[in-house]
């Protein structure tokens, strides 16, 4: 029982990070119908930038802000400079471009920051909290991880559902041509969408870095699990991405805990195949509604 409890808590924290990555992928998928395979590598790069700040004496919170702001900026730049020129080309071109970008960031990171594996400091203690006399597998940093992912999600929800800017962004994602006819500057909305997605990805990077170690491919695994979570959720639903990401966190934690950590990746694959066989469009796809 206590084992199950530990694995559940562990799954929740990991799941929050996969959910953030899944959300980043879904935000871009909804805006531009592209899977940004460079999402993980971009987050790796912004995490390195945060570490760079720490190396130069910046306090943790400054480094944290560096990661998020550089994420925001990097997303906007990638959309404007890399994605925009091939906007009207076949979708595969953009996919290949994001794969190229993945290689680019992974190649340039060791050149810029050195190739050795680094550790990344957490904001708070990673020692489990005490509940009465027993120590539980939930540290102050885990609480911070969970709290910041939830905060970002609530902020995004408010932005998309309650503000005019969010309404414009949703309209641009659903139908760019009609949106332009309504006077919406769709190009700006797409740039903003990429920027926000990249910010959420950067958050995932800076939150997972203390428990992994920092090296150029350290986000690959998070990208794969986040992507699986996004597909589980139906790819075009933000809520689905969050739930899919959390499901991945729990499932991987149980598989790793009960069957051995070697089987985690296989477990992810089995879950993906099983869900897609039952619901080919994922758990929360909007397309289901359109068939009515």
């Amino acid at each position: 029982m206590s084992r199950f409890f530990v694995l559940t808590l562990n799954g929740l924290t990991q799941g929050a990070i996969y959910a953030a990555m899944a959300l980043a992928l879904v935000l871009i998928w909804r805006a531009t119908k592209v899977i940004n395979f460079a999402q993980g590598a971009m987050a790796m790069f912004t995490t390195y930038l945060a570490l760079f700040a720490i190396d130069h004496g910046a306090p943790y919170w400054v480094a944290f802000s560096v990661a998020l702001l550089s994420g925001l900026l990097l997303g906007a730049i990638v959309e404007r400079v890399i994605v925009r020129p091939v906007e009207s080309a076949p979708p595969l071109n953009v996919v290949i471009l994001t794969l190229g970008l993945l290689l680019f960031f992974q190649a340039i990171a060791p050149m810029a920051f050195g190739g050795q594996i680094r550790s990344f400091p957490p904001a708070f203690s990673i020692v489990g909290l005490h509940l009465g006399n027993a120590q539980i597998a939930f540290s102050p940093f885990d609480a911070f991880t969970l709290g910041s992912v939830v905060t970002v999600m609530i902020l995004l929800l408010v932005l998309f559902q309650k503000t005019n800017l969010g309404l414009r962004m949703r309209a641009s994602a659903f139908n760019p041509e009609v949106s332009r006819l309504l006077g919406i500057r769709v190009g700006r909305m797409l740039t903003l969408g990429w920027a926000l997605a990249s910010l959420v990805g950067a958050l995932a990077g800076v939150l997972i870095a203390p428990s992994f170690l920092l090296y150029p491919t350290f986000m690959d695994q998070v990208l794969v699990y986040g992507f699986t979570g996004a597909v589980l959720g139906g790819l075009d639903s933000a809520m689905g991405a969050v739930i899919g990401g959390l499901l991945m966190g729990f499932a991987l934690s149980y598989v790793g805990g009960y069957f051995g950590s070697d089987l985690e990746t296989v477990g992810a694959l089995v879950i993906l195949i099983a869900v897609l066989m039952v619901r080919p469009r994922g758990l929360f796809s909007l397309q289901r509604l359109r068939e009515v």
Partner: protein, 235 residues
Amino acid sequence: MLEIADLTVAYGPVVALHGVSLTVADASITAVLGANGAGKTTLVRTISGLTRPRAGSIRLDGRDITRLAPEEIARLGIAHVPQGQGVLAELTVDENLRLGGLWRTDPGGQRAALAEAYELFPPLAARRHVAAFSLSGGERQMLSVGRALVARAGVLLLDEPSLGLARLVLVQIMARIKALVTERQLTVLLIEQNARSALSVAHQAIVLHLGKVVAQGRAQQLLSEEELRHAYLGF
């Protein structure tokens, strides 16, 4: 006033419009008639900036808008209601309507315009918070037109509003639009394949055939030209 001069549009080697000239007077309805493939939709898409012309010019009240982006043209008060897919199906009726005027900078005027649109099309008010995909064809058309009104558009480009609509519903919507032409000085360019119904509401009309203007004049006058009707309008 919308002035179109010598407009030529081509998709690769295929010429869709061939030196089309047309003047749409303020506070009037001008119908663009012709068979499938005559270039009617290309004409409105070029006016709203979605398609780039190869030659010619488009002027709104004397200002050249030929090379402007669609979103900038919309902000000048030209509302294009596209064929069929004009509403954002995933958004609610209210969100769709609000989107029409988001670029405007007068929140008070916006609220008033929104209330007016609901008043004009009561079926929409009843379904305010329903996603647009569940609306009927007539309600969708009302939503598209209502949205153009929320934008306080001076020029309305209507692409085949009759498509898929029951005759009675179409008559109702066109009656509303006709009223707006006199009350608000709305200028309407009405694209129609159904020539008879379009000519019954339009003040003037042009007939397109394979990308060229083959006839133009007052609507009544075109109705009376039997040969023209047989040759191009199919009745």
